[in-house]
Symmetry: C2
Subunit: 447 residues, 2 copies
């Protein structure tokens, strides 16, 4: 992850770079990253992954093994490879801070650099910002649904390979999760870790109650016991017995919670809560998991099902209903002149832009305006300079601060925009008159 992988790009980035190099095209280009349209039933997205994009830009170097491989392709001139050998990203970046909610057609990141550089970094910047934005957006929906109950990322096993497992934990935390089961995310990002036990631990032992006792006895801390391996309610009674046994023995080992991972979760939670309460275990929490998404969470919360924490796996880590966004990184200006892609269904708003956000009472987000950066428009400009001359202009904010920002901004969304399903509202995004005029002017010119 922290190792920059220079050849993690599309071949055409390199062949186009070679053309720019050979043609002597080294004027300044401006590319902007944005999402063309929101996924179905979504009122907003949450920007994330900026820290990793900046790390990439600062660290990007082509090593001799990379250059040797490229030479072997018989596609690149020795002069161009020599140029790559001294490559450093020297441009500037403006971006929305991580954790900012945003909408369709709004640039969330802008790269300004000689065109060779700005083009070369397209694939990897998209790759990392897209993914974390996908996951932070999904996580934020779970956070809205959970209404303050604990959310834990359980999704490493179904995440798309190693880096996705790691970065999903980060983005989920940004979006409002409280913890992750992925240990490397604790190591790399300082995210709180949380874990329970697996069915195999129960099955490997002759009797369930023995497995519970053994786990509690060897767990250094407060254990969560998994109770749905055979018969959930019977297991809940066994846990209650064990809690009393440990209390009576004055043992320092204790049990924090039970986990239910299958069956009719609402029914099981109510039955288990009743059993635990009636056996004097009011302090034992209930964790649920197993195929949860924001809709299942909302359903449990709305029905006041006694759940203290949700473990969310697959639906979060692959963002099952929207595993990809229609995110693009497009040239908006070259050599001081605005540019516009006009392909059917994929036309872009040209020029160097800014997103201006207007707020109402309690900082509620009222409307956004996408305008030329130089325009004087009311509202807060969301894109701020984060890199200049290839160096970050300030240390990245702490992850906890990004998360707090995200949660605060989520509560500033109009209530109907925070809805999860059909009928979700939207924040109006205006395209400025000057921007429309510029687009029309370019359409008339180019061809």
């Amino acid at each position: 992850m922290t190792v920059t992988r220079p050849l993690l790009l599309d071949l055409y980035q390199l062949t186009m770079a070679q053309s720019y190099f050979a043609l002597g095209m080294n004027d300044c280009a401006v590319f902007e990253l944005f999402v063309r349209s929101l996924p179905r039933n979504r009122g907003f997205l949450v920007a994330a992954g900026l820290a990793q994009a900046l790390e990439y830009l600062e660290g990007l170097r082509f090593g001799s093994a990379d250059l040797d491989f490229l030479a072997s392709l018989d596609l690149f001139s020795p002069e161009f490879l020599k140029c790559l050998g001294t490559f450093r990203f020297s441009g500037s970046v403006h971006a929305m801070p991580e954790g900012t909610p945003f909408f369709a057609q709004e640039p969330i990141l802008r790269v300004t650099a000689p065109i060779l550089e700005a083009q070369l970094v397209e694939s990897r910047i998209l790759n990392t910002v897209h993914f974390q934005t996908v996951i932070a957006s999904k996580a934020a929906r779970c956070a809205l649904a959970a209404g303050g109950r604990q959310l834990v990322d359980f999704g490493l096993r179904r995440a798309h390979e190693a880096d996705a497992g790691l970065c999903a934990a980060r983005a989920a935390y940004v979006g409002g999760f409280h913890a992750t089961a992925t240990v490397e995310a604790g190591q790399r990002f300082g995210i709180p870790l949380s874990g329970t036990m697996a069915h195999s631990f129960i099955e490997a032992q002759a009797r369930e109650e023995e497995a519970f006792r053994n786990f509690a006895a060897t767990y250094r801390g407060a254990a969560t016991l998994l109770i749905d391996t055979y018969d959930t309610e019977r297991a809940a009674r066994r846990v209650a017995e064990l809690v009393h046994e440990l209390r009576k023995a004055g043992s320092s080992r204790h049990i924090r919670a039970v986990r239910i991972d299958s069956g009719d979760l609402a029914r099981e939670c109510r039955a288990v809560r009743h059993i635990l309460d009636s056996l004097g275990c009011q302090d034992i929490q209930i964790v649920v998991s197993g195929g949860l998404d924001e809709y299942a969470i909302e359903d449990l919360v709305r029905n006041a099902v006694p759940v203290d924490a949700f473990g969310v796996g697959t639906a979060l880590d692959v963002s099952a209903d929207a595993p990809a966004l229609d995110m693009a990184y497009k040239l908006q200006e070259y050599a001081g002149k605005a540019r516009r892609k006009r392909s059917p269904g994929k036309a872009t708003w040209p020029g160097v832009k800014q997103v201006f956000r207007e707020r109402g009472a309690q900082r509620q987000i009222m409307r956004d305006e996408v305008a030329l950066a130089e325009e004087a428009v009311a509202g807060e400009g969301l894109l701020v300079e984060v890199m200049r001359d290839g160096r970050s202009v300030r240390p990245p904010p702490a992850l906890a601060q990004i998360r707090a920002r995200c949660l605060s901004e989520l509560s500033a969304l109009p209530p109907q925009v925070r809805e999860l399903g059909e009928g979700v509202g939207s924040v109006p995004v205006r395209i400025s008159d000057a921007l429309r005029a510029l687009a029309a002017q370019l359409d008339a010119e180019v061809g």
Copy 2:
């Protein structure tokens, strides 16, 4: 990717391992990896990712920084951390060769090792085998749809972070793709690379025909020109002019193809083919891209639209219709005794199993039987030993060989199982009588 990341696991793998260590539970466990059910409208899946799983098992070590981090969590005893410090995976692995089609409830990989070891590797084995299996399965569907036409992976930018981009290229190649745009996949895996040009290259230059001429002049090889930036048919005529210009000049630079990335692809391809043919450019190929999936490919092929190659991005690299499989890694035997998970909807078939495949004429796959490994069942046993005492038993097969195996096996699927949509057929998978009897016996015993 090749660096083993020891803390890329779920916290509970470590806390359970500590319990096994403290309890002295070090008998041999057998875990099997399988998919509970196929995604909607799918008749088969394709196993992939074994090579990366074996690399992980061979290379897994906990370094001092890892142990220091774990110590900081205040969850682990010094004795257990010392044990982790000398951890080596010492078990054996049986698996279906990569590229093998398989079905629900069939184990595709089996780990046999002391329970601490076999449990500890769960998350990462699932993480890597799951992802490549997801992508190889999606790629195979594209290959079936494309009917031999070229398929190129364009999906890095929307893949879920760096490793997914890299491994998607590998798995897509296994499933029948011909090339990838992801350069690192060429470097790491020797996959053929392919690339075109981006709209920005056109837009950065004053006139489209100038951009075409400049690209062809600076491209070392046969270029593919992108023709949908402004007006696709006009651009096709410009390409034809340039082809003649280069021919007349006897230039060594030449143009291989045009790419269309938007609009009504069927209509545009036909119009462009007609223009190119009528202008003496019968040898210029047409590449299409832009939101393609197996259904769009099938549609173009069925309607005999003149397409030579498909660039497939998002739908492939996130497997948009099925971004995750219901894949699990479950304890099937411990200390010589079969084990069974009985949770509602998640019950497993216990014991050490083998998948026996029966074939008909032309090696057509007729039916599979999931049986105990020790049973004498007709057919070819699909799980073969690939690792013994923690070491691979043979060098991994070449990727081209895995791909060839996959394509040959796809053609051995019954035609209705190769269908893409609703009404797709299935290969019957029988559960052996002995296996059913064992499950019933365990249900009667355990509780």
